[in-house]
Symmetry: C2
């Protein structure tokens, strides 16, 4: 049942926007009520989903939302995994996926100007015509929008070398809660005029404003790419291998750690036999003019280490990287399952995994691990069978909480790249002090005094 206020809001919205932009079809409402995050609580249905195609329309929605105090959740493809766009109260959805024009690519300036609904991969396809790439590559890059990437400050596989989303965002056009349009940042790689509001909006998960245009830094496509897989006897050996690569001053574009349990799942899915051949695996992509020499150094460094290195020039490692990109190995869909996203100082990697494995074992929870190990970002996945013993969800939750507490104990963070959203909100005070949380709430109040921008999320 809609309230009179909500009906008045919609009526006024219909008077200023083309009617086809405002959708109340049940299926669309349902699809737009959530992201890929696995929450215990079912999302509510939004009042309506608005699909603006122009900046002015976003401004109109925000003006009316302010006038009628209607919360607004902006979203793109909804590929986030932290429940950042889950509907938890009355809300209108601002779905920006139809604002999907690549406004301009300026190859000589190495920048692109885009609307928020452009799919990450589409920008990369367009940029490739000029020999350029947009570096941040979250696993969802084939589906996720750049607006969503900016809202979560998305990471990805190659960000150890090329930086996370924030490092590629130069300027943003932002519609504020009250409908005003501002431009922050600059069109150049460097610029220090005033406070860094661009970084403030990047990663703010739709709670400070609506990004309607972005100037993004592009980079030249690397001249060479060489993929390697390294099979180690144990996880400890693989982590030690990461240090060997670092000490050789090699900065891979991609450096992924795969644990034995994940190797077993990959074997099931792809009929490989990784798990028999080793206890842990590193997947490495080297790129640029140094790739060939770096490959030589890696092969030489591990020649006497009981490490199985993929055959030179074979496509095996490339296939494994693609398998890794598209899958966390979630095969059994009847299990309770949750994936985590902590980041920890790299030196603590082995200790973290071993202590966590011990707790998982005690609680009879299955644990697998993949990691952007080059920057200490870990994605453990936990699962229990619904019928296996008592309180399976409680046991699952205890292990998940342990994974977060251990990360904080070791000087890490609760979220390396997924964002806080709804799922991690209760953990934020474990990481940040009351004062720091209050400053963020105050900044939120400053930019969104009526609290209508994605309330209850991120901070």
């Amino acid at each position: 049942m809609m309230s009179i206020k909500q009906m008045s809001f919609l009526e006024k919205l219909r008077s200023v926007l083309p009617s086809e932009l405002i959708v109340q079809d049940e299926l669309v409402l349902s699809e737009n009520s959530r992201d890929f995050g696995q929450l215990a609580v079912e999302p509510l249905q939004p009042i309506a989903v608005v699909f603006p195609t122009q900046v002015q329309q976003v401004q109109q929605v925000m003006r009316l939302a302010t006038e009628f105090s209607i919360p607004v959740i902006s979203r793109g493809a909804g590929t986030g995994v932290s429940g950042g766009v889950h509907v938890i109260g009355q809300a209108v959805i601002l779905n920006l996926s139809k604002m999907n024009r690549i406004i301009e690519i300026r190859p000589d300036d190495e920048i692109a100007v885009v609307e928020p609904g452009v799919i990450n991969q589409e920008l990369n396809i367009a940029a490739a015509k000029y020999g350029l790439m947009y570096a941040p590559d979250p696993a969802s890059y084939k589906m996720s929008t750049l607006g969503g990437n900016i809202a979560t400050n998305a990471g990805g596989l190659r960000c150890a070398k090329y930086g996370v989303t924030r490092e590629s965002v130069l300027s943003l056009d932002v519609v504020l809660a009250d409908g005003r349009l501002i431009r922050v940042g600059k069109n150049t790689f460097k610029g220090v005029a005033g406070y860094d509001l661009t970084a403030l909006f990047t990663g703010s998960e739709g709670t400070l404003g609506i990004v309607v245009r972005a100037v993004l830094r592009l980079r030249y496509l690397p001249v060479d790419e060489r993929d390697l897989s390294l099979l180690f006897p144990t996880l400890e050996d693989a982590v030690h291998g990461v240090q060997i690569i670092a000490k050789a001053t090699i900065q891979p574009a991609i450096l992924e750690l795969i644990d034995h349990a994940t190797m077993q799942v990959l074997d099931e899915q792809y009929s490989t036999s990784l798990a028999d051949a080793g206890g842990a695996m590193l997947l490495i992509r080297l790129d640029g003019y140094g790739a060939m020499r770096e490959e030589e150094v890696i092969r030489y460094s591990f020649a006497n280490h009981n490490v199985v290195v993929s055959v030179e020039g074979s496509s095996e490692a490339t296939q494994l990287i693609e398998m890794r990109r598209t899958s966390r190995g979630d095969t059994k869909d009847d299990a309770y399952r949750t994936g985590e996203d902590v980041a920890i100082p790299k030196s603590k990697m082995v200790e973290y995994v071993r202590r966590l494995q011990k707790v998982a074992k005690q609680e009879r929870v299955q644990m697998r691990l993949i990691s952007h190990v080059g920057d200490g970002n870990l994605h453990p996945t936990f699962s229990v069978e619904p019928n296996d013993g008592s309180d399976p969800l409680d046991r699952l939750n205890r292990v998940v909480e342990t994974s977060v507490r251990l990360a904080l104990e070791m000087g890490g963070t609760i979220t390396g790249e997924h964002g806080v959203g709804l799922i991690k909100k209760d953990w934020l005070p474990w990481e940040q002090s009351t004062e720091v949380l209050q400053i963020q709430k105050d900044i939120k109040s400053l930019l969104d005094p009526s609290g209508i921008l994605n309330p209850g999320k991120a901070i």
Copy 2:
């Protein structure tokens, strides 16, 4: 003459701090009243200079400054060039140069934990023992403090490849205006918990809080370094050369453009004969495993371009890079002189320089140019002889203003790396809208409600 309020403040300060930390010696007051920025207005004398050695002492200063409403200017070595620490009203100086401990270097995590008074070069010397470096290298790196680098979000020569200061700052301990101590950020390369307060404090020029500890990202020292100098017939050719290098997907660690007027000054200073050999010069440092191949590609690319490339393996280019680092070629100290710091989209480089040269010529102002051309950051230097014609300072100022207006007209920024400070404050509204300026003022009010942190600067 000190006011009663100021005397009471000092008296109370003396009761809580060791007396030797509070200095009122005329010479020290004078030295601490300004930075390297060339301002028309002479700075005032501060009330006192406090040299804290511990975080608690900084907190005590801020508590009392809040109690007595005494403005506080925090500073390091004072090598800034925007007047960011110039004393323009009553103020106590918080000189952080004695908080200069490298608290910890964790080689396996590739991070350093430092106090704000550590000299940039000292961290690099300490990190080098582990094969690591701190990448941001402002020209002042032998003298400037990391706290000052953070306050201005300093750039440098190698930031096109390795990023500006912000990209190397992971976490900050900040003493707020009222003396509370907070910690923002994380110890890992990636982390998206809450808003990016670390980026907000970085580059805020002492107006939001006092940085008393920083966790900095280190990087492995590159395995190879190769320096090249390229002499081009004209400036246009040199800028075109930059595009050729970019299209070959080569990312130099250093890529500097030197114009003909600067080459003449270098010839005078170092008895070289650059100016006869070409019309503009690029200085290039290639590093890492790809350096050798990249050098080959550059040599091949320019083989038929009427370009004089330095002899392979010679130290000529390395010497030129050092000359560039330590000098803008300011020889004649009787001239009125000012240096600028705009950044523009790279494709506009030639147009910018030619239009600016034209105006400089009309106004009979000498102009030289060096540029971190890899990221579009230009440092034109303008000078006039005091006795050459009428209104020399007016003519100088008109050219400087033109340099800024042209940069903005071309989509650039008024400051690529020096910061706004005092000198560029009047220009900030040329670049940023009233709304954006107001948001920054509101954030400032939030964190510094009595406005005692470096008032009148940066925003």
